[in-house]
Amino acid sequence: MRRRTLLAGAALGLGLTLSGTAMAQDKTKACFVYVGPIGDGGWTYQHHQGLLAVQEAFGDKVETAYQENVPEGADAERVLTQMALSGCDIIFTTSFGFMDATNAVAAKFPDVKFEHATGYKREHPNVATYNARFYEGRAVMGTIAGRMTKSNKIGYIASFPIPEVIQGINSSFIHARKVNPDVTISVVWAYTWFDPAKEADAAKALIEQGVDVILSHTDSTAPLAELAKTPGTIGFGQASDMAEYKPSPRVSSIIDNWAPYYIKRVGAVIDGTWEQADAWEGIAGGEVEIGEITEAVPAEVKAEAEAMRDAIAAGSYHPFTGPLNKQDGTPWLAEGETASDGDLLGMSFYVEGIEGDIPK
């Protein structure tokens, strides 16, 4: 009797699964791979907001799935393969370190579309890349940092020595120096995207060095939590608004808004018009937003930062405009010349004025 009940149960279960797959075939399945937890309040949180926007925009036409905390490396390949096998039509891999795994898995599943964030490898026709011009946001933050620092020391918590991060350091520094010629920048390499303990320690060390404005290029809110303990120091929301630290220490933020891009690309899969692409939008395209500048910032500094934002959005100003020299003093950009995208994507040097070396 018991065995029969079990069998019946199993059969029922099997039936359900089968009908489940049958139904799924009408729907487009969009899958997301996250490097951190959704609750990081930063990078991954914003990508998840994008997923929710996709679900909202297409309703019953799409099914979404995601996996959090996927390590960059061999595990990523396993997760991607599993997703491709489970019927995903388009997979977004949302960290630089997933680059090789994305291309390797894409080779095995030519019918599945892959979208890799912040990378540059598109080895197969079914791999697209997308990125945002975070350095434009850094120009605005750098302006505020240069004006707000009293010790003339700003700090930067960097993750990995990759072009995207180096662009951020350079852009922040150039614009801080532009408004405050005495400013210096200390860079701490955390070698992680998400490790609140390490990020907090790094922020603490910077504060102990007399730094009073910290920019972070890691994903958690921990640096802001550390800044909140020391009056007179400020920081910025990174990747997400991090509004819970308003009005200080979080005085403004760079918000990554992935929703429009995700909706566009998933829509293209539904229509069958998806094509390989390399998207790199900035403030003008709405992918990079500047969060509210709080009352902790004087009105004239706020106006200056907003003018910078608007000039970048209008295309009348490029954050990397000459004359700019490399760290060793060799000329990079002549007067009025702007950096090409190729230069930016391969950026592996500090600009003149930054001390220290980029780790290899």
């Binding site: 937890p37 959704i38 609750g39 990081d40 309040g41 949180y45 905390n69 700090g155 200390s186 701490v188 390499w189 070698y191 998400f194 490790d195 609140p196 303990a197 907090a200 320690d201 790094a202 603490k204 060390a205 910077l206 102990e208 060095q209 007399g210 730094v211 958690s220 809110t221 921990a222 939590a225 303990k229 819970e244 001390e355 220290g356 070396d357 780790p359």
Partner: protein
């Protein structure tokens, strides 16, 4: 590099803070080992303390309640260890390792809903004008209560082990459980209490990480602090005050390496990041080189199970 940018007073103040979690956990483990039990589950108990402390502090909106809950949580997990090793006489090494793995997994499950949430702040103790004394004020009088508590606990453990009858009994159980049993002491009960104390201390240490140092929850937040605590017990050759020394040394190097980086030292970051662990290994090697002395200090019945019928 600008070494003058590193202010020694600030450095000492922050190494005291950095050392608190391992110091608390190591003090607890010292008592456990003094009773003759080797509990390798410190990491697991710490992380359980970290997650309980944060979760309860957030729900109760009080860091004090959080710390108490963390101690209770760590002790509760150590109860599993006590049951397995003292009642079922399971192997202590294997049980301790299992406890760590279990704690890491369970904490991750409990912590799911608490990622990225801010715990209520733990206030500093107010020493009034003392805070403004140059150098000394920075080093000694600008901390939260747990920093002082951790030193007080070491003093209390030292006094208990050295001067009281209870301490003598605890050491007797750890040195020779058969003799202690013959004298009429309840070996298992005493060990159980020691294990519970160890769990509570590890829990407190963990909560200090999630409530004060970071302050946030994320999977694996203790990042190996429990293992360092175990190493520090050996480093201290089972003497309470040397735990203070070991913890400050480790905490000091952890803080110093970040400060060196921020000051622009031209040493590859990778070496700086591994330096606290390298120093720990180095000290352990030096300590163990003199085999006779190290062995003399270790409790004789360490890691051996006791059964009255034998």
């Amino acid at each position: 590099m600008d070494l003058t940018a590193i202010n020694p007073a600030v450095l000492i103040a922050s190494l005291m803070v950095a050392a608190v979690p391992i110091m608390l956990a190591a003090t607890g483990e010292l008592v456990v080992e003094k009773a003759g039990v080797l509990n390798l589950g410190v990491e697991g108990m710490m992380i359980m303390g970290a997650v309980y402390g944060l979760a309860i502090a957030v729900e109760a909106e009080s860091p004090v309640v959080g710390f108490v809950a963390a101690a209770a949580g760590g002790a509760a997990l150590s109860l599993i260890f006590a049951f397995l090793t003292q009642v079922l006489l399971a192997n202590q090494v294997a049980t301790g390792l299992a406890l760590t793995l279990f704690g890491l997994g369970l904490s991750s499950l409990i912590g799911q809903g608490y990622v990225g949430i801010k715990p209520p702040p733990t206030p500093r103790l107010d020493f009034g004008p003392l805070t403004d004394i140059p150098v000394l004020g920075t080093i000694l009088f600008r901390h939260d209560p747990v920093v002082y508590l951790s030193v007080l606990i070491i003093a209390a453990v030292w006094a208990l082990l050295k001067f009281t009858r209870a301490g003598l009994i605890l050491r007797a159980v750890g040195e020779n459980h058969d003799a202690a049993h013959a004298l009429g002491y309840k070996v298992q009960r005493i060990r159980l209490l020691a294990i519970l104390f160890g769990g509570a201390m590890a829990g407190l240490g963990g909560a200090y990480i999630s409530l004060v140092r970071v302050p946030q929850w994320t999977d694996g937040i203790t990042a190996g602090a429990g293992w360092i605590a175990l190493a520090i017990v050996v480093f201290a050759s089972w003497k309470p005050w040397r735990i203070l020394l070991g913890a400050y040394l480790f905490g000091g190097i952890t803080v110093l390496q970040l400060n060196l980086q921020a000051a622009g030292a031209r040493i590859p970051v990778e070496y700086l990041s591994m330096s606290p662990y390298l120093i720990t290994i180095l000290v352990l090697v030096i300590m163990s080189a003199d085999r006779g002395r190290a062995a003399l200090n270790a409790p004789a019945a360490l890691g051996r199970n006791f059964h009255a019928s034998r």
